[in-house]
C-alpha cells in the first residue's frame, strides 16, 4: 500500500495552493442537458491542471456535487458508493447542528447551496496570474458553456490583501499538514499519510479509505483501476472530497467587540484590542504563535509552526485553551501522552485551500472601519479543504473542536473566531476564558463574528475519473 502517489492523475490544487496565481474565480454551475454537458466536459477535461507541473499563468479545476454526478448520468449503484455526508449534502437538518449552521448561518438564509437556492452541480475553479487574464478567459469560457448554466460566480483576488492575511488582519494558512510522498518533508512522526487527503492511498489507520466505485463498462476498464471485487473499478482513486463554504466576516463587529471588552484594562486602545483578538486567535497578526511569543508580536516568528502545547503551555497561560489555533489543531495536548496525542491528532487533519473574498479594510480601529467607504461590501473567507473522510476530518473539527463549548473541560466556550454558540448549549453568546494567574479573565458575551452564507460538499475526481465521467453513455 506504500504505492507512489500518481501526481499526474491528481488535480494540482491538492498539491499546491497557487499563491503565484492570485486572481481566481469560482463558478457554480448547473447541468441543463446531460449529453451536451458530457461533451463540454470532454473538452474541458484536457485543460484541467494535473499535479506534476507548476503552472505560471493559469490553473483549471473541477469538482462535482452529488446531484451533479447523478445529473451527469452516473448510475444508482455507483452513486451509492459515495460517502454518506457527500450524498446527503451540507444543508441537512442534523448536519446543521454538527456544523453550527444555526441562526444567521442557517442554510435557509444562504446565497447558494441552501434548500432555497438553485441546485449546484459543479464547481469550476479558475486561477490566473492576473485579473486581466482572468476576465479575458472568463468571457471565452462563458460562451463555451454547453448544456451547462452559470449559477453564480464568486471572485477572490489575493493581491487585494496583504500576502495571506485574512480579513480580521491575521496571517492565515501557516499550519498545513505535511504529507508523506509530497515534496515538503518534516520530522517523520509529524508527517501525515496521503490517504487522509487523496483516495487510493493508505490513511492514518493504515487502511485504504473507502472509495467510490463503478461497475464495469468498456470505458471504466480503460480509464479506472480494477478492484478485487469482480468487474468493479475505482472511480475515487486520486480523487478527494472538497468542502467549500463561503464565510462572511464582520470586521467591524469583531474589532468593536475587542475594544469594548478591553475597556477596563491598562494600555493603549490598540494594544488591548490586538491583545484580546490575538488571545482568541492563538497567533499575533503577523502569525507569530502565542506559545512562542506570549507577550508581544514578533514578525521574526511569523511563519513559525514548530510549536506544541503539552510541554510549553499545558495550562493555556500563553495560548488560551479555547483559542482558535489550539482547538482547530490541538497538536499534542489531548493525551493520554503527548506522543500518542500527536498520532491521534493526525486523524483529524484537513488540507486547506481557502482564499479571502471582498475588499480589505486595513485597520483594527472600529472608528476607522466604521467610516471606511468599503464597509458595506461583503468580505470573508472562501473556505476550502480536502479530506477523504468528511465525517472524521472536517465535520469532526467543526463539531468536536470548533463548536464544542465543552472543549477540554471548558464550560461555555465555543471557538471565539469561527464557532457558533447556538449549538448544544443553545446560548446566544459564548464565553472566552483567558487562563492567567492568579485567576483567569472571563470575557463574556462573545457573539459569532462570522456567518456562513453558502456551502456544499463536492467530489474532486482524478483526471482519468473525469474522462470516465465524460465518456458515460
Amino acid at each position: 500500500m506504500e504505492g507512489k502517489i500518481e501526481f499526474s492523475d491528481i488535480q494540482g490544487l491538492i498539491v499546491r495552493g497557487y499563491n503565484e496565481l492570485p486572481a481566481s474565480c469560482f463558478l457554480l454551475l448547473k447541468i441543463t442537458d446531460a449529453v451536451k454537458a458530457r461533451e463540454w466536459l470532454n473538452v474541458l477535461s484536457k485543460e484541467i491542471t494535473g499535479g506534476t507541473t507548476k503552472p505560471s499563468e493559469r490553473a483549471v479545476h473541477l469538482a462535482f456535487t452529488y446531484p451533479g454526478l447523478a445529473r451527469l448520468g452516473m448510475d444508482e449503484p455507483a452513486l451509492k458508493t459515495f460517502a454518506r455526508e457527500f450524498r446527503e449534502g451540507m444543508d441537512t437538518e442534523h448536519r446543521k447542528r454538527a456544523l453550527g449552521d444555526l441562526g444567521a448561518s442557517d442554510p435557509v438564509n444562504w446565497q447558494w447551496g441552501g434548500p432555497e437556492n438553485e441546485e449546484v452541480h459543479m464547481l469550476l475553479m479558475l486561477y490566473y496570474a492576473n485579473e486581466r487574464m482572468l476576465e479575458d478567459d472568463y468571457i471565452v469560457r462563458l460562451s463555451r458553456l454547453n448544456g451547462v448554466q452559470l449559477v453564480q460566480r464568486i471572485d477572490s483576488d489575493l493581491s487585494l490583501l496583504e500576502k495571506r492575511k485574512e480579513h480580521f488582519g491575521f496571517q492565515d494558512g501557516i499550519s498545513q499538514p505535511v504529507i508523506k510522498g509530497f515534496k515538503k518533508q518534516t520530522e517523520p512522526e509529524l508527517m501525515v499519510e496521503p490517504g487522509e487527503f487523496i483516495l487510493g492511498y493508505q490513511n492514518e489507520y493504515k487502511k485504504l479509505p473507502e472509495s467510490p466505485y463503478v461497475s464495469g463498462s468498456e470505458n471504466a476498464r480503460e480509464l479506472l483501476p480494477e478492484l478485487k471485487v469482480g468487474n468493479t473499478y475505482d472511480f475515487g482513486k486520486n480523487g478527494t472530497y472538497l468542502v467549500f463554504r463561503q464565510i462572511s466576516q464582520d470586521v467591524l463587529k469583531f474589532w468593536k467587540f475587542m475594544e469594548d471588552a478591553t475597556k477596563d484594562m491598562e494600555g493603549t486602545a490598540e494594544e488591548k484590542r490586538v491583545w484580546l483578538a490575538s488571545k482568541m486567535m492563538g497567533r499575533w497578526p503577523s502569525g507569530a504563535p502565542l506559545v512562542k511569543c506570549p507577550f508581544r508580536d514578533d514578525p521574526a516568528y511569523s511563519d513559525d509552526n514548530s510549536f506544541e502545547f503539552h510541554f510549553a503551555d499545558r495550562e493555556g497561560l500563553k495560548c488560551p485553551i479555547g483559542a482558535h489555533v489550539r482547538r482547530t489543531n490541538p497538536r499534542n495536548s489531548q493525551g493520554p501522552t503527548p506522543k500518542y496525542a500527536d498520532r491521534v491528532n493526525k486523524r483529524h487533519k484537513i488540507l486547506r485551500r481557502g482564499r479571502p473574498y471582498g475588499p480589505y479594510i486595513e485597520s483594527s480601529d472600529p472608528k476607522v472601519i466604521a467610516s471606511h467607504p468599503d464597509l458595506s461590501k461583503d468580505r470573508g473567507l472562501l473556505f476550502m479543504c480536502f479530506n477523504t473522510s468528511i465525517n472524521r476530518q472536517f465535520e469532526f473539527i467543526q463539531d468536536t473542536w470548533i463548536n464544542n463549548s465543552k472543549f477540554e473541560g471548558l464550560y461555555n466556550d465555543p471557538d471565539p473566531i469561527a464557532g457558533n454558540p447556538l449549538g448544544r448549549c443553545k446560548a446566544e453568546t459564548g464565553t472566552f476564558t483567558v487562563q492567567a494567574e492568579p485567576v483567569r479573565t472571563s470575557v463574556k458575551g462573545v457573539p459569532s463574528f462570522t456567518t456562513v452564507i453558502g456551502g456544499a460538499y463536492f467530489f474532486m475526481p482524478g483526471l482519468n475519473a473525469i474522462r470516465y465521467l465524460a465518456s458515460i453513455r
Binding site: 469532526f396 468536536t400 448549549c425 494567574e437
Partner: protein
C-alpha cells in the same frame, strides 16, 4: 454515601401492541410535550434519575432462526437505593408508567408497578459510571455553586485587579460560608474512611484472585478462540439511508448523546463464557480502577452498561456520553480498541479480531459501519443535566471539595485554575 445503580427492565410487548406502545412513547417527546415536563413521565421531577431511556427492541430472529418477540427496555442510571428510586418513579409517574406497561406482557392497569418492574429487572454484565458518589442533586448544586463563585470572582477582579491568590480564596470561602444557600456543601456524599479501607482490601483481594485466573483462562482459551476466529466471516454491511437518518436526526441536540446497541452473540458456549468473563473483568476495572471520570483514557462517558439478554443470545449496550457519535467512536478506536474488541469480537459481524482483543475495532471504517448497523433508535431519552460534561462535573466537585480544605499556596493556585 451516594452510589449509582443501573436499572434495566426488560418486558415482552403484548402481541400486536408494538405500534400502540410506540405511539405512547412518541407522545412523551412530541411538542407541545417536552421530555422534562411531559405529563406521562415528567422526568425533571424524578430527582433520583441521572439518565433514563425507553427502547423498543423489534421482533427479531436469532441465529437459529427462532423468533425473539418484541420487547420494551426501560433503563435508568439512578441514585441508590433501588427501593427509593422505584418508589419515587411510581409516585411521580405511576399513571404514565401504567399507560406504557399496559402494552407489555404480564401487566394490566391496576397491578402493582413496583413488583412488576422488580420482576423484570435484568442484571448488568458490566457497569461504568463517570462521576461516582455524586447524587443528581449535588451535581446540579455544584454546577450552580461554581457559576456563582465565578461571578463573584469577576466582581472581585473588577474591584481589585492585583488581588493575591490567598486573599482571593479567603474571600471566596467567606462568601460561600456566609450564604445560607450553600449550607449543603458540608453534606457528605463521599465514601467514609472506613468504607475506603474495606474497598481497598477488596480491590487487593480481587486483584490477587483475578490476575492468576485471567492468566490461566487466557492460556486455556487462546488456541480454541484463535481457531474460531480464523473461521469467522466478517459481514459486509450496507447501511440503509433511512435508518441512519432516523438515528442522526436525534443526535447532537444537547451536550450529551446516547447510544443503544444490540447484537447477536456468536454461537457456542466458549463465546458466551468468554464474553461473560471479559465483561466481568471490565466491571471490576470500572469499579476499582476507572472510577475517577475516565474509562481507560476516555474522559467523556457519563454511564455505560452491557446487559446480556434473551438467554445469552444477544448483547445490549447503553451509553451516555459527551459530544458527537463520531468523536465517541473515534475515542473507542484510538484509545480503547483492545477493550472493546475483547467484548464485541464475541458478537456477530464484528471486524475480524486476533486473539480476542487485537485487530477488530482498529479497523476504523468497518468498526464504525458495524456499530451503526447494530445501533437502535432510542424512543425516549432523558438527561438530568443536559449542559454538563463529565469534565465539568469532576471540576465542579473539586471546587466544592476545595472550599472546606486547608491549602498551601501551591494548592490555592491550582484550585483557582478551576474557574
Amino acid at each position: 454515601m451516594i452510589t449509582h445503580g443501573a436499572l434495566t427492565v426488560y418486558t415482552k410487548i403484548k402481541p400486536g401492541m408494538v405500534e400502540q406502545l410506540r405511539e405512547k412513547l412518541y407522545e412523551i417527546t412530541t411538542p407541545p410535550n417536552h421530555i422534562e415536563t411531559n405529563p406521562i413521565i415528567p422526568f425533571i421531577n424524578i430527582t433520583s434519575i441521572h439518565f433514563a431511556r425507553f427502547v423498543i427492541l423489534e421482533e427479531a430472529k436469532d441465529l437459529k432462526g427462532e423468533i425473539i418477540p418484541a420487547a420494551l427496555v426501560f433503563s435508568s442510571n439512578y441514585d441508590k437505593p433501588l427501593e427509593h428510586h422505584l418508589e419515587e418513579l411510581v409516585r411521580i409517574a405511576g399513571a404514565g408508567l401504567e399507560e406504557i406497561y399496559q402494552y407489555c406482557e404480564g401487566f394490566e392497569k391496576g397491578n402493582n408497578l413496583i413488583t412488576y418492574l422488580k420482576e423484570h429487572k435484568m442484571p448488568c454484565a458490566a457497569f461504568y459510571k463517570g462521576s461516582p458518589h455524586r447524587s443528581v442533586e449535588h451535581i446540579r448544586r455544584e454546577a450552580q455553586l461554581r457559576e456563582d463563585i465565578a461571578d463573584f470572582i469577576d466582581k472581585e477582579l473588577k474591584r481589585d485587579k492585583t488581588i493575591r491568590p490567598r486573599a482571593l480564596r479567603e474571600k471566596i470561602v467567606r462568601y460561600v460560608q456566609e450564604n445560607p444557600k450553600y449550607s449543603w456543601i458540608d453534606e457528605k456524599e463521599d465514601p467514609s474512611f472506613l468504607w475506603k479501607i474495606g474497598f481497598f482490601c477488596s480491590k487487593v483481594l480481587c486483584g490477587m484472585v483475578l490476575i492468576p485466573v485471567a492468566f490461566v483462562a487466557a492460556i486455556l482459551a487462546a488456541i480454541p478462540l484463535r481457531i474460531k476466529e480464523s473461521r469467522d466471516v466478517p459481514e459486509e454491511y450496507t447501511l440503509e439511508q433511512e435508518k441512519i437518518l432516523r438515528l442522526v436526526n436525534e443526535e447532537d441536540k444537547i451536550v450529551q448523546n446516547q447510544l443503544t446497541h444490540l447484537v447477536d452473540i456468536k454461537p457456542g458456549w466458549l463465546r458466551l463464557i468468554t464474553l461473560k468473563f471479559v465483561l466481568f473483568v471490565i466491571h471490576l476495572l470500572a469499579l476499582y480502577v476507572y472510577n475517577k471520570g475516565r474509562l481507560g483514557f476516555i474522559p467523556s462517558i457519563h454511564f455505560a452498561r452491557w446487559v446480556i439478554i434473551d438467554n445469552g443470545r444477544r448483547l445490549l449496550f447503553f451509553s451516555n456520553f459527551d459530544g458527537s457519535w463520531e468523536s465517541y467512536l473515534g475515542d473507542f478506536v484510538d484509545k480503547a480498541a483492545e477493550g472493546l474488541t475483547s467484548v464485541w469480537s464475541n458478537t456477530v459481524g464484528f471486524p475480524k479480531a486476533k486473539f480476542l482483543m487485537f485487530a477488530g475495532a482498529k479497523d476504523e471504517q468497518k468498526f464504525k459501519i458495524w456499530t451503526r448497523a447494530h445501533q437502535l433508535p432510542t424512543q425516549v431519552w432523558y438527561s438530568a443535566y443536559k449542559l454538563l460534561s463529565v469534565q465539568n462535573i469532576q471540576n465542579n466537585s473539586a471546587i466544592r471539595k476545595g472550599l472546606t480544605r486547608k491549602m498551601s499556596d501551591k494548592q490555592i493556585s491550582e484550585w483557582l485554575k478551576r474557574f
